[in-house]
């Protein structure tokens, strides 16, 4: 378009520089300086004492991601093979909870998992319990799975709708059993959906501080909680918080480059 219109992007470019680039540079600056503003590496080296928290965050987020994938994969496949009208309704049902604020969804589980909550009362009818469910790591993982399951279902479904029935039938005609149809046909074809789903569940899971606070009690801190404590909580140390944020960003970038690699390898395999 000969609009000679580059100039009308100018306000956005200014905005982008001021409110996307500058804030990230701030994080960088604060991470490498002390309270007086002189250069230091202490913030980053001081993080080693929080290693258990980092490990726990990665571990819990990874477990939640795997559970989401295992739960969502068959579901997405079933949805993609339904009649079109039914697909629409089911998809709506998958997305509906996403539109509820995640604080409310997490709060719902808080009341269910309590020591004298509904689940324990129900189990009590069979003489089980009461079980300790709230304020455990399991509860945190449950919260992650519950909140982010739709983010796994949707990309998987989107990719599976495009997989033609005839491909599956061909595999079966050629003698592939259920397992082989899955590993040789379905899985390779759905890799892009799997990788998108993994990122979309893993990134919010590893950076959450609400789920761990509401369902994990005080004892199951995650990276997100640590960062929040440095900025708004009692610890109040912007420099340390920035260093933590920096590490979190690196972890997220690593996860993304890992899934990108999976995507690429898969593409290369497809050509051969």
């Amino acid at each position: 378009m000969k609009l000679k219109s580059k100039i009308i992007a100018a306000p956005y470019l200014v905005w982008m520089t001021a409110f996307i680039i500058a804030p990230l540079l701030m994080v960088l600056y604060f991470a490498f300086t002390d309270k007086a503003g002189s250069f230091t590496l202490e913030n980053l080296s001081g993080l080693s004492q929080y290693t258990p928290v980092f490990v726990r965050s990665i571990l819990l987020a990874a477990i939640a991601t795997v559970i989401c994938l295992v739960l969502a994969y068959p579901l997405s496949f079933m949805l993609s093979r339904l009649r079109e009208g039914k697909q629409r309704i089911m998809l709506m049902l998958v997305m509906l909870p996403m539109w509820m604020n995640f604080l409310l969804r997490t709060y719902a589980w808080m009341t269910l998992l309590e020591r004298n909550g509904l689940i324990n009362r129900f189990l009590g009818l069979f003489g089980i319990g009461p079980l300790n469910m709230i304020n455990t790591q399991g509860a945190v993982v449950l919260g992650m799975v519950y909140n982010y399951l739709p983010y796994m279902i949707l990309p998987l479904y989107t990719i599976m709708v495009k997989i033609d029935d005839s491909l599956i039938e061909a595999a079966q005609d050629l003698g592939a059993g259920r397992v082989h149809t899955l590993t040789k046909v379905l899985l390779p074809l759905s890799v892009p959906g799997i990788t998108t789903g993994i990122t979309m569940v893993f990134v919010p899971s590893i950076s959450t501080f609400i789920i761990s606070r509401m369902l994990g009690g005080g004892s199951n801190l995650l990276i997100g909680d640590l960062i929040e404590l440095q900025f708004l909580g009692n610890s109040y140390n912007y420099n340390l918080g920035s260093a933590m944020s920096l590490v979190l960003m690196v972890v997220v970038l690593l996860c993304m480059s890992f899934t990108n690699q999976l995507d690429n390898e898969n593409k290369e395999g497809g050509v051969v």
Partner: protein
């Protein structure tokens, strides 16, 4: 696929109960007379009543709506302008700008929130003005809404037939007339849908607002402070209302869509 197996059906039922049982329990207990979250002692609408007299919730809802509307309008205008400007740039420059724009989308929300908070704190300390509140909330919401506008409008712009624009100019339009009579109507569906996306993201956002709001409370922040107080059945009432509202909206959109599809099918 022909008929669904019994096992598949059971699986669907299980997953959907997992997704909906917590919401259903909340809805049931929003009508509970006592504060208990496990024993249903009798029916009441009391929690709904007290919700509508809860000043904290009402003013938070008001603030959320104002922030959402203003930030969505600004983000949509700014983002549409940006898309048009970026469209006529060289490919490498465009690539760089798009990648930077993508940052708020791929970064964890907490990072976006924290980084903006740092910037606002530095600005606040250097100009000695209390900027935290509506100004910072607006800036933050516009910033995280902008990428969605750009990623919605840009593809539409690329699909557009450039000759329409040229024809308008040949027929005597000034560039400005041509823009408003030819380009803008073409982009309108994308602009509208990005506006709606911005509205919903803005109303729903908790994490970024939490770090940039100072002492102001948007609706999600008010909800958060309610959940900290442990027992407050008003939350159940609020959830139920929100769920019903969302459900109705989605149902209406769906009904409209499927009617349109049927119409199109008949025409074909």
């Amino acid at each position: 696929m022909k008929k669904m197996g019994a096992f598949s059906k059971l699986y669907l039922v299980l997953i959907f109960s997992f997704m909906y049982l917590p919401i259903a329990v909340m809805a049931v207990f929003s009508f509970n007379q006592s504060k208990s979250r496990t024993l249903f002692t009798g029916f009441t609408l009391g929690w709904y009543q007290s919700l509508f007299h809860n000043d904290m919730i009402l003013s938070a809802l008001g603030l959320s709506l104002v922030i959402a509307l203003v930030s969505s309008v600004i983000a949509t205008v700014l983002g549409t302008m940006a898309s048009i400007g970026i469209y006529s740039m060289r490919r490498t420059v465009r690539g760089v700008i798009m990648n930077v724009s993508y940052m708020p989308v791929i970064n964890p929300e907490i990072i976006t929130g924290v980084s903006m908070m740092l910037l606002f704190v530095v600005v606040k300390n250097s100009i000695h003005l209390q900027i935290f509140g509506i100004p910072t909330l607006l800036v933050a919401h516009i910033t995280f809404n902008l990428p969605y506008v750009i990623f919605n409008v840009s593809p539409k712009l690329r699909q557009m037939d450039i000759r329409m624009w040229e024809a308008a100019l040949d027929l005597g339009c000034t560039p400005i007339q041509a823009f408003f009579k030819v380009v803008l109507p073409e982009l309108m569906p994308a602009i509208l849908s990005s506006f709606l996306i911005c509205l919903t993201y803005s109303i729903d956002d908790f994490i970024i607002s939490y770090f940039t709001s100072g002492t102001m409370q948007t609706l999600p922040i008010a909800i958060y402070s309610m959940t900290r107080k442990k027992v407050s059945p008003e939350i159940n009432a609020l959830s139920t209302i929100l769920f019903v509202v969302i459900f109705t909206i989605i149902l209406l959109i769906n009904a409209k869509d499927s009617r349109n599809e049927k119409k199109n099918a008949v025409r074909i």
